[in-house]
Symmetry: C2
Subunit: 308 residues, 2 copies
């Protein structure tokens, strides 16, 4: 099996295109595709200051590496890596260390923010004291806020997250399976708040299958955390992941088809979503749809919670 | 395990509700649910003449049985069973026989129309002479026309088909997996042509899981065809079916959630679908979006194809 581009020995066959690739061409091609996604969805500008959400896993460290390479071509662009330390004993410390090492190697500024410092308690403490929601629900809302706060403090104007094709397609199906089909309109490569109260969020890996992100990380020598979060929800998302992988195996390209399929729906769905009026949270001042934001509700305290 | 309704020995536990049921209560409950679907989607009127598409399988014979029971309460309503003989050697004859027996037992008028008589050739002949499309694609288009022609000839004003919950949910996901997400707007319990050129089509079983339809047929002594069509497509739909059954098993109620989820999307999706102008097919005179209808294109002949 020879590489389609350079005819050297291939090591991987991209099943959804039937294309064999050698290691060098694979790495180059993944980078090219990420840049194509960035330009197709108009994600980045030459003078952006991008806060990259870096957990220390394969996806975020790959994203950081590719954005760092790209940034070098744009002297006015800036990168800051943001790592959130949620306070998960026996898990997060290693990831923070790996993120720090990668940033040092790449020469990228690195900011670490912790739940404890921002919200007064660690995720472990929140999970122990509250039972209404799953750990992932608390973590998702609080981490999003933490990244946003850190990005604003670093004077970034954009946030890049490392959601890959599989993440996006899983979320689309999960929304349908959960009965929130209209929310699929919000699973999109670029999230903009027209009123400018939230920083724009972009997902440059959204058209790269998880498998190829993992392969890229592995081949380019990225050291990333492999053990899963102890709170990882194993329920429906895992089943959806498995089933998508099975369908993809038998019908290569299905994940891309679903992604494009929903792309075509998005505008009509968005048009039907009620226009949400945002106001400022009475406690922390951050934008919210109700009177008190989700973060403050979750923290359930009267002292001011961190806004910006 | 005792029946939730009558406390007799239960034989089945409806997992999506956690409700154990005895045989009698199960049968009654399925019938009640079908009537509820009929009324919820305003499917039938007291004086309808309904053409029931009866293939001879478990779904259509169950539908016929339940509609026959219901019809008895409405003296002005009429039922006609329509069976299409596509001309599939070694398969269709048994089904036609079973359909005929059921109709006789229930006292329902039975009309059998064949592809040979309507289109001049059997499905077997079409499949042998044409290779562009799958047998299911030819059969789907031609059978729909055949049922429509027979229903109009019988002076019916409505067509009832036996699509169950699983069929509908599979079709929804298949449309997404195939990249035709907008078509999910057309997977609906009632299909109406506002201009009245097509008879209204209704799906009274659309909220009954396939498993319960099979159980109903079995318990009520319906003799139905069990061997699958030799042309049955085994590709993507089968994978989707399997995966849905697996997810349903672990998360009972998922099929219903997907069904409801899409229900909530339908209106916004429909609004975005281009309004299709229908005109009369130049060959057969039936309504079509182009100049020649799908049926005539498939038959690919200049002699007139059957309209009404």
């Amino acid at each position: 099996m020879r590489c389609r581009f350079c005819r050297k020995e291939a090591f991987y066959r991209r099943s959804y295109e039937g294309v064999p690739l050698c290691k060098t061409c694979f790495l180059e091609d993944v980078e090219k595709r990420i840049r194509k996604t960035i330009s197709r969805f108009d994600m980045l500008r030459f003078d952006d200051h991008i806060a990259v959400a870096v957990s220390g896993g394969k996806d975020s460290l790959t994203l950081l590496r590719v954005l760092r390479k790209t940034e070098k071509r744009f002297p006015k662009a800036t990168l800051t890596a943001v790592t959130v330390d949620e306070g998960i004993r026996g898990y997060r410390a290693e990831a923070v260390k790996l993120a720090r090492e990668s940033c040092k190697e790449l020469g990228v500024d690195h900011v670490v923010v912790s739940f404890r410092e921002l919200f007064g308690k660690t995720l472990d403490q929140i999970v122990r004291s509250k039972k209404e929601l799953s750990p992932c629900s608390y973590c998702g809302v609080l981490r999003r806020r933490a990244i946003h706060v850190a990005a604003k403090e670093a004077k970034a104007n954009k946030i890049a997250t490392a959601h890959n094709l599989d993440d996006e397609v899983q979320t689309i199906l999960l929304n349908i399976f959960h009965g929130d089909a209209k929310r699929i309109a919000r699973v999109e490569p670029v999230l903009v708040d027209p009123a400018g109260r939230f920083l724009q969020r972009v997902k440059p890996l959204c058209e790269i299958p998880e498998k190829e992100v993992a392969l890229y990380a592995h081949l380019s020598g990225v050291r990333f955390q492999t053990c899963p979060c102890p709170y990882l929800e194993t329920a429906l998302r895992n089943d959806v992941r498995e089933m998508l992988n099975r369908v993809e195996e038998r019908h290569p390209g299905t994940k891309f088809t679903i992604f494009r399929s929903i792309e075509r729906l998005r505008d009509s769905l968005k048009a039907s979503l009620a226009r949400v009026e945002l106001r400022n949270c009475l406690r922390c001042g951050e934008p919210t749809t109700g009177s008190v934001c989700e973060v403050c509700k979750m923290l359930d305290k009267t002292i001011e919670c961190p806004g910006t």
